[in-house]
Symmetry: C2
Subunit: 416 residues, 2 copies
């Protein structure tokens, strides 16, 4: 993409009412725009990152054999009443014909009756369904930017089982898949499996908590085995339930995912049972598994940055290469800089490398470098009068300090 064509621009200053540092960088870079408190527009640069996150997640869900669908945001009141969650922190609204809805916050209320329509016999189990869909939460305050939105994008997976063993095994497979997702998203090194309250059907549920000073959660990390305990249940466990360890480090953290064994809580509410081989009725066991995509975007921006801007991991960066031409006062040199830049861009794109091409005229080198650091694309490739003299470009990694010269004939096949 040519940066001169991008309709967004970087901004030096943004409103002080946004206090989350990562979200501030996303706003300044033109990745997102704030439409209202807790409500954001995902701009073209941000959408590129979000689509990569979506691809990573959906590929893992497909690997787990989950079938993708899209449930609605308008969920009838009666569904919420069936599960006793109408008093959950839902946005509620009434239609012209008097129908009442709660906006999708989590969707056991739709997934369960839907599954019931198609699964009758033990032979129909197990199965799992997932979606990547906009969710809503009626937060009284929305002060942590993308980390806690009133409207946000979420992946929710629901699995259905008729044996506890099968349920437990699938749960473990999803746990592994989640770590693999967080690894690909570049936050696994700070992300801890965290024990949390399990409800009626399981001793614990599991959260995936990414350590960050911007986090709204508090976790206690066992110094011995590395599992963490959520603040909410810490007082019940003076010793680590996993290894018996007694030393913990307290950390602020962002909950980037959670998985939960629901037992029959929702299937029973909707009268969802299966018929066994012997004709007997079998209870249906459910698990749910969530990852907030916009929160993950905000978490990466929050945890992978420096004073100058974001440092995107290569896997989810909006582009791999930020190709930058620096104008020269010498017109013939300028023409050659432009020619070289265009050719390099073509060559990189031929090799499937995604390039943001800073072809903006009238911008100083300083402005371009500043913008580049803010946008955080992993590889900066500069073409200037100086590099041209050596038939080379200057490569700098966003995450590093040193610059190297690479010959024109080597850049297309360079392993970034």
């Amino acid at each position: 993409m040519r940066q001169s064509q991008l309709f967004t621009k970087t901004q030096k200053e943004i409103s002080a009412d946004e206090t989350n540092a990562g979200t501030r960088l996303l706003l300044r870079g033109g990745f997102i725009d704030k439409t209202a408190a807790g409500v954001y527009t995902i701009l073209p640069l941000g959408l590129r990152v979000l689509q990569k996150i979506e691809k990573i997640i959906s590929a893992k869900m497909d690997d787990l054999g989950a079938q993708r669908l899209v449930m609605p945001a308008l969920v009838p009141k009666k569904n919420w009443e069936t599960t006793g969650r109408w008093n959950y922190d839902l946005f509620k609204l009434k239609g012209a014909g008097g129908e009442e809805y709660g906006l999708a916050a989590t969707l056991e209320e739709v997934a369960t009756p839907l599954a019931k329509k198609f699964a009758f016999s033990y032979k129909d189990f197990p199965f799992a369904i997932y979606q990547i869909q906009t969710k809503f939460r009626n937060e009284l305050r929305a002060k942590s930017g993308l980390l806690r939105g009133r409207e946000f994008l979420m992946k929710d997976l629901y699995s259905f089982h008729i044996s506890q063993k099968d349920c437990d095994e699938y749960y473990e497979r999803v746990k592994e898949a989640y770590f693999s997702i967080f690894k690909q998203a570049g936050i696994v090194q700070d992300t801890y499996l965290t024990l949390s309250s399990g409800g009626s059907f399981s001793k614990f549920s599991h959260e995936f908590q990414t350590a960050s000073g911007a986090g709204e959660d508090l976790i206690y990390l066992c110094d011995n085995c590395g599992i963490a305990i959520n603040r909410e249940i810490k007082s019940e466990y003076p010793k680590c339930p996993e290894c018996g360890g007694e030393k913990f480090s307290e950390k602020k953290a962002i909950e980037v995912g959670n998985i939960f064994k629901l037992g029959t809580k929702f299937s029973a509410a909707f009268g969802f049972e299966a018929t066994g081989g012997d004709g007997c009725k079998l209870p249906v066991l459910m698990c749910c598994y969530g990852i907030g995509l916009t929160r993950l975007l905000g978490t990466v921006a929050e945890t992978s940055r420096d004073d100058a801007g974001i440092i995107w991991p290569e896997t989810i960066a909006p582009f791999s290469v930020h190709l930058m031409e620096l104008e020269s006062k010498d017109e013939p040199a300028n023409r050659r800089i432009k020619e070289a830049s265009r050719r390099i861009r073509q060559d990189l794109q031929k090799n499937q490398i995604e390039v943001l091409y800073d072809d903006r005229a009238g911008k100083s080198a300083g402005e371009k470098f500043k913008d580049s650091d803010l946008l955080g694309i992993p590889n900066r490739v500069v073409v200037s009068a100086k590099t041209l003299e050596k038939n080379s470009v200057e490569l700098k990694k966003r995450a590093g300090l040193e610059t190297v010269l690479i010959g024109f004939d080597g850049i297309a096949d360079y392993k970034f």
Copy 2:
């Protein structure tokens, strides 16, 4: 995909309260599920179709140089008040902190102030932004299935210009792009460019109306030039405004798209102007362009079907080939049928052909054929004891009547 693994099933009967024939077939086939009146879940088979429609549309938008983003569904009341549309048929809701929102129905109210944040100088124009996003409309009645939902998926494109000529030219380009989209979606032969009310800034707006008995609109098609006039303005035009023709055919139709020159209606409301080269202020001209994706899905199902089911155009079919193994009572033959089917599936998939593999056990040939007709996949490939004898499969086009035998060694490279 293996049909035995698909969690949805076809249904013989569905609730009589769904009257739209295309939507009934989509429900029976397991493409969608009805969550509430006017509110549908898109099931895995339906999502495959919708994703293809999305791909066709987004490719065309990218060709038009439009930049993709995602605006929110929660739109603050003050945005709607700025344009005087708070009394539009919006779903309205109030948050815990007292904030009021109207759910996204169309989004000039977000697109315009957003564009204003980034475009100041005449040099920043023209540009266009688009999204594919869930929309909401507070319909008193929702009786036409997917053709008029309370919640639906829509592509909305907004373009911004500072010259009328540029605006007019872009408008014409989008018009062409729309016909190309409807051609790819398989409905262009029944789709008419239709003159409709233009508002304050243009004599006409343009709708794309697909003739169908299920349509809620009425259009008058000029027998001479083939342009149509919407019922709403027909009385003003006894003669065709395009060619002067006086003979019209009345048709019921579904509005599958519309494009509208907005002039400065929204830019003026938000105080959005550009600075010209001479420092003078220039008015910003806007156009908006919509296509409902779920409505398009419903329109294809409505207009491309027979008594037995849907007939998907190859371009948006959920799969290209419905590979079906028919069980034999002879066990060795059965094994060979399964072996052959699996090999054919692998070979087809190696050639990037999408296959739904009906590997369900215990289903009669009649049941499988019925399901296949209902699902409407363009090519049905049958492996049975009979075809096995000739080392062949039986191919039947969903849209045709005849069957042909194709040798095992020819099926992988067959040009469907």
